[in-house]
């Protein structure tokens, strides 16, 4: 079944269609939320919240072929809301990974990259995650963040530059 038809059926309350739709996107949204939030537990909770919001907002979704971007926008907003709830006085830039269960101790590279990514400003971090972990084009990222493509490129450039700086001169970040 095509995605447009699946979305339409899910919008109209067809439970199997909704299950199918969630099944298609769960893994990718889960990965996005975990990286965005900086830890598994929060990422998992936000992922669940994102799909619930998806269901509640499906009636408003206009079929224009950008369902994935729309879903990622919801996930991004849920991540922002979660950050605000956890630390109302902190900005969205601060990662909450300090006092919550961290990722499993993977390779040293993974920890270095994660630490650096967590220190990026929220909007730059998101652009980098969408671009390099989810293969979003510049236009797709622009759609998710509701900003012009040029701004996406700027954020990406600055994000990569800052990441490299955070990783240090001895490390080369390969895209």
């Amino acid at each position: 079944m095509g995605e447009a038809q699946l979305v339409r059926k899910a919008m109209l309350g067809d439970a199997p269609a909704l299950e199918n739709l969630i099944g298609r996107y769960y893994d990718t949204i889960y990965a996005f939320c975990c990286r965005r939030m900086g830890d598994i537990s929060s990422g998992s909770d936000v992922c669940q919240e994102a799909f619930l919001k998806m269901v509640q907002n499906l009636p408003k979704y206009r079929e224009r072929g950008y369902f994935k971007s729309w879903l990622f926008t919801i996930a991004s907003n849920c991540c922002n809301d979660a950050f605000r709830k956890k630390r109302p006085t902190a900005g969205l830039d601060e990662s909450i990974a300090d006092d919550s269960p961290a990722f499993e101790q993977g390779t040293e590279n993974a920890m270095l990259l994660k630490t650096a990514l967590d220190k990026l400003p929220a909007e730059q971090r998101e652009v980098v995650i969408l671009r390099y972990y989810h293969d979003f084009s510049t236009n797709d990222v622009a759609r998710v963040q509701h900003i012009p493509a040029a701004t996406v490129k700027t954020r990406l450039y600055r994000g990569l530059k800052k990441l490299q700086k955070l990783l240090g001169e001895d490390i080369l970040l390969e895209t």
Binding site: L18, I22, D27, N109
Partner: protein, 253 residues
């Protein structure tokens, strides 16, 4: 030269999905399906209604704006003074807004005649509420043009008089509409609100010009103060009656 260590983005991997969590997510989402949610905030309700307002609504509004601009030109010629013409036109235009909204609201007066009133009364937006929302959309849509008119006429009318001519009839007419529609239902409510709207549309320009002549005689330096107070009072009346109307929990008939 020291060899740099290379890190790839893919080095940072997320642990695999736990199937129980995935299942819980699906069940949570399925539980979220049910009665379709309606917008709670005014912004959401306006956005929903905008989806239904068709091209004829906008064309009608544009036509009204064009007529007003033509009237303005005609009035300038007839009245002889630009200031009086502009003030009268602004007042007429402003008072007509609620009438246009009532007329553009779907079949407000035809509801009873076509036996639709029962269905509509039991709906999320009964007709008065729908009219109120459409009126709000009218106001938002007309605001840029009205502002341009008022600003363009600043040099002629003065800021306070221009604002008064623009704001007072609209706020007054809309506030009265909300009061009527909050108490009278069905055909009676529709006819009453349209009738009063038309009456105000005819009276306001004349009243305005009369005030312009009489006020300086009573209080030479006080015209602007009176204008400001009038705008404030009408604004307060509009806000209070609109709030009461929109938040009215009673579903009595």
């Amino acid at each position: 030269m020291k060899r740099k260590k290379t890190i790839l983005f893919t080095d940072y991997a997320v642990p695999p999905v736990v199937q129980e969590q995935k299942r819980a997510c699906v069940e949570n989402a399925l539980a979220g399906m049910g009665t379709v949610g309606r917008g709670g905030t005014l912004k959401e309700q306006v956005k929903t209604q905008l989806g239904y307002v068709g091209p004829w609504f906008w064309l009608g509004l544009a036509a009204v704006l064009v007529v007003m601009l033509v009237l303005l030109g005609e009035a300038s010629i007839q009245a002889g003074t630009q200031k009086e013409a502009l003030l009268a036109t602004l007042a007429l235009f402003s008072a007509s807004g609620p009438v246009v909204a009532c007329l553009s609201a779907p079949v407000l007066a035809r509801s009873y005649a076509n036996d639709m009133w029962e269905l509509e009364e039991a709906s999320f937006y009964n007709l008065p509420r729908l009219t109120a929302l459409r009126l709000f959309i009218c106001a938002l849509a007309a605001l840029p043009v009205m502002t341009v008119l008022a600003v363009a006429g600043l040099g002629i009318t003065g800021a306070i008089q221009g604002l008064t001519a623009l704001a007072v009839p609209f706020l007054l007419a809309s506030g009265i509409n909300y009061c009527i529609l909050g108490r009278l239902r069905g055909l009676a409510g529709s006819l009453c609100s349209i009738g009063i709207g038309l009456l105000l549309a005819v009276l306001c320009p004349a009243l305005f010009l009369w005030a312009e002549e009489i006020l300086p005689l009573l209080w030479a330096d006080g015209t602007q103060v009176v204008s400001a107070i009038t705008v404030f009072a009408c604004g307060l009346f509009f806000v209070l009656s609109a709030r009461r109307f929109i938040r009215n929990p009673s579903i009595t008939y």
